[in-house]
Symmetry: C2
Subunit: 326 residues, 2 copies
């Protein structure tokens, strides 16, 4: 639930005057997205989303994010397309913050993931990876393997208050994951979303009542990394049930649809368990960091880090890619 | 910023099947409104707001609120119009809560009130009062004068932690206000909004660039009470500057436009200072209650009760209605 920055109506009107979007019709804060302030913006030209970038986003990364969205939308991916102002620039300033207007996407994100969501998701992910292949921008994954040791270090003092023995377990996991991590250059790289959770994928039903992806949003963790790591993030985010069990039917649907568009190499398949383990560790560590550094009951809802400890243990024990539906 | 209840996509689709609204196109939580969960809902028929009523709203009051909105919209007031389902009922259940779909209103609420907003506001308020005259529903004002002593009592233990001596000052204020409060039946009564703050009034510019009211929302404090008390709430909410000074130009514009549609009687004008003082006390007390019963940094942003102590003192010293622009 996020509107951190208020925008006065005069400032908004002055901002909009720089765009070929007609007159302001409506403007409402959106209670979705955690990092930035988002507003539904309606003008006489259509519907848009205005995003103001808050302090957790590095302004130096914004040209990459907006350029990637522009590129992917140009390749036909249903993702927000940045709208350039009269001067050709999509990245501008409003209320003292960097801001951008993007096209609005229809659809609803699945509060409860069903197996029928997973094939269209896998297909959209492969489409995203293909569409990103000829994008020239590069952004290292700040929350990739090199970032995990410093994150774990930042959680060291308070981590065991969440669960006794947690830090020792994570030290051992991190060492094992880094030892087994694919060597640089050994797997295909490209532009990855890196945060493709259910609240970042909109669906609409087709005429037969089957969900189809109508939009992929929130590219503010996107980076240049192993394509199969994005698959591993999705297996973490979409394929566990609320009782913490792994739903291999969902995983198979996701992977089959992905591979129909971009088959995983033998090396990618072999690496999938450690990539999943690393992705589980990544979300565990950022949640643990937020948990231990955010007061109970604070404005931003904290997400339970132990959900990802269970996933981490599952992937650590998984016997090969077959156990993951691959 | 409010989405307290999540709605699964299956539950939403099943809910929508009971309405003549076509197919679901988009569904996003709205970061506005504090008491209830609000969602922007788009269907193949148009745009709507879905509200789920949370625990601070008494379900027994919902027929009054929805009936009043239906009535006012029918009289031509730009307010949300409840949409009946196929069975004719506008009040239904979703995700275990009472819920209703209302029409969407265009416009933007003024983050910074300008004098130009105040005449259209006064006109809309008088229109609301006139439109409510033949509405048969009745709801006592739970936050009217009878409610202030219990509220103050609930703040007694911790109130002075906000400012030393605060409770003694409020005891004296409450006694003075109740002693001077208009006797029952001495002033015109009717349906009042009772919470007409700037975030509850949408504006759009007309062709000459002047703001016009495009919507009045959030009737969940509406009740049957003195019409002039609603004017007093607006003088509190719209006519002070951020430096806490009273802007009599704004008050004059508000009052003149109101009186162009419904002139205040001599008795109402004479009562205006004490009504303003009572309204200031009412918002001070609810803010003080929330402040002392909500932990610092909690999910709901706390509003500063002392802003209303300054307003209360201003109105306590005001020498007659002329000092208020009346």
């Amino acid at each position: 639930m996020a509107v951190y920055t208020e925008v006065s109506d005069e400032a908004l009107r002055a901002f909009l005057a720089d765009y070929p979007l007609g007159e302001l019709v409506a403007f409402r804060g959106i209670a979705e997205g955690v990092e930035n302030s988002n507003f539904a913006l309606k003008t006489t030209q259509g519907e848009y989303i205005l995003t103001l970038y808050e302090k957790r986003v590095d302004p130096g990364d914004l040209p990459y994010f907006l350029g990637l969205m522009q590129h992917l939308a140009g390749q036909g991916l249903a993702c927000p397309q940045p709208v350039p102002a009269h001067d050709g620039q999509a990245l501008r300033q409003l209320a003292g913050r960097p801001g951008a207007i993007c096209t609005f996407l229809p659809g609803v994100w699945p509060r409860r993931v069903r197996p029928q969501h997973c094939a269209p998701l896998g297909d959209a992910l492969a489409q995203l990876h293909a569409a990103g292949q000829d994008f020239a921008g590069r952004r290292p994954n700040a929350l990739g393997p090199q970032g995990w040791a410093p994150l774990l270090q930042a959680c060291r003092a308070e981590g065991d208050t969440v669960q006794p023995g947690l830090i020792a377990e994570l030290d051992a996991e991190l060492a094992a994951i880094l030892a087994a991590w694919p060597a640089a250059g050994s797997l295909p790289q490209g532009q990855i979303h890196a945060d493709l959770f259910p609240d970042n994928v909109f669906f609409l039903d087709d005429a037969a009542g089957q969900p189809r992806v109508s939009g992929v949003i929130d590219f503010y963790f996107a980076c240049t990394d192993l394509l199969a790591y994005d698959v591993a993030v999705c297996l973490n985010a979409w394929c566990f049930e609320s009782d913490h069990s792994f739903n291999v039917t969902k995983a198979r649907a996701l992977l089959a649809a992905y591979q129909a568009r971009r088959p995983l190499s033998q090396a990618e398949r072999a690496a999938l368990p450690v990539l999943c383990r690393g992705a589980a560790l990544r979300f565990l560590l950022t949640r643990l960091y937020d948990w231990t550094s955010t007061p109970a009951g604070a404005l931003v809802t904290r997400k339970d880090p132990l959900e990802y400890l269970r996933k981490l243990r599952f992937f650590a024990r998984a016997e090969g890619p077959g156990a993951l539906g691959c």
